[in-house]
Symmetry: none
DNA sequence: GTGGTCTAGACCACT
DNA sequence: GTGGTCTAGACCACC
């Protein structure tokens, strides 16, 4: 995995890195169990303050996306939704509505939006099957 | 239209209000030509500083979503996309990827996501027709 | 770069400063990547409230002329036109007509106006090449 | 002459009307000596407060573009530059620089700008000859 | 009445 | 240190 920081954006560095790790996991490019570079190594590689990397790892651990095994390193966690089904559904509705609001203001038609989502969704590693609903 | 501010979130007040207005316009609940509450009235209603409301209105005006008529008030604008097709397509890809990343981490399947998008898209007022691409 | 505010004009302070920065960028006197003075420094220098400077920077960022890097400062952005060709052409026609209207009322001849434009245009950093129209 | 007010713009009504009269004069569509509609008539026609029309006429009179002949009406004045040659040249330079700044930020090339100015200048009624420089 | 601009001063997040 | 957000309160222009 290579991560890239664009310092010309107003998105904070820690956010850029978090988003890239989250997206890599979502696309299946980072699979559960894989070890990430150490804070020190990655901070040198990206020319970023080690504190910033450490913050990224700890926030992703809080989100259940990474696990730190002391002395061994930081690893991609098994997928494990902690939210209730109701909370997950509500959260999904929120992010869909926010996304659709933006899409409308970009003057796309609903057909164009659905087509684009259908196409891009193939680049992501979703759960198999339909039933993720029982918890 | 009623707007609601949640002061406990870390989302800035002006952002919450902007998002709510943008969504209401995208859903067709606020139609072009409708007058919004005056800065002073809304600031009293939401118990928010008038400057904060004024900021929301002026940023939405810069985005082409509202118009200000001096001395008269603030109104919902006619939709008028000014971005190039290339910029619009890139923006759409970005928001879709960000949305799908979140959806994967919520442990939904791709079928569930597509179904939810298809369902919720009906609540929004998209452009008619499919081809909005010639400019 | 030195900026100057004339408090006797009816042009708002933030507009004066915005215009000066826009012109400096257009002339190539402020090049992409250059760091602008911090909000606090410039506000002391110009004897203007920091909020006013912050407003200038944030509006120019929305226009794609500046970038903010949190914690680091404000920088001149790479040029990146996002408007559609149609919108750009219409905008150009509008500003030309407004300019020509003023020029006529100053009692210049068309030859004088064209000569003056041709001469002054050399002080600006335009795009190379002629065709900037495909998007 | 028909004037049109667009209430959806943030440009004040009095400014819209002033600009339209100035442009009509500059284009030669309103010639010196022509009588303009009375304040009352025009205010009914445009559905605008009479005070607003009166303000437009009085400001244009101050600029030397209109003359009021009491009891007779308001007339288009003879062109009469009151400024010194130096002041006129400086003012021309200012409006050219402001215009060119905008044109650069619209990502046009200098060739495109010159071509567009040359084309649109034909729609305006400039002074004949080149020598408007002796005063 | 309407919105727009500016100041002063506080608090927070990012690096 | 950097910029971002919010409040409070003043003054001005437009209608």
């Amino acid at each position: 995995m290579e991560f890239q920081i664009d310092p010309t954006t107003r998105v904070p560095i820690y956010r850029q890195l978090m988003d890239q790790i989250r997206e890599a996991v979502a696309r299946g490019r980072l699979k559960a169990g894989v070890r990430l570079p150490s804070v020190r190594v990655l901070s040198r590689e990206l020319v970023v303050n080690p504190n910033t990397i450490a913050r990224v790892y700890s926030e992703l651990e809080r989100d259940g996306i990474l696990n730190t095994r002391p002395g061994l390193g930081v690893f991609v966690a098994e997928a494990q939704p902690e939210l209730s089904a109701a909370a997950r559904r509500q959260r999904l509705a929120e992010i869909i509505d926010a996304f659709l609001t933006d899409a409308v203001h970009l003057s796309f038609s609903s057909e164009e939006v659905l087509a684009a989502v259908s196409k891009r969704i193939r680049g992501f590693q979703f759960l198999e099957g339909a039933a993720s609903d029982q918890n």
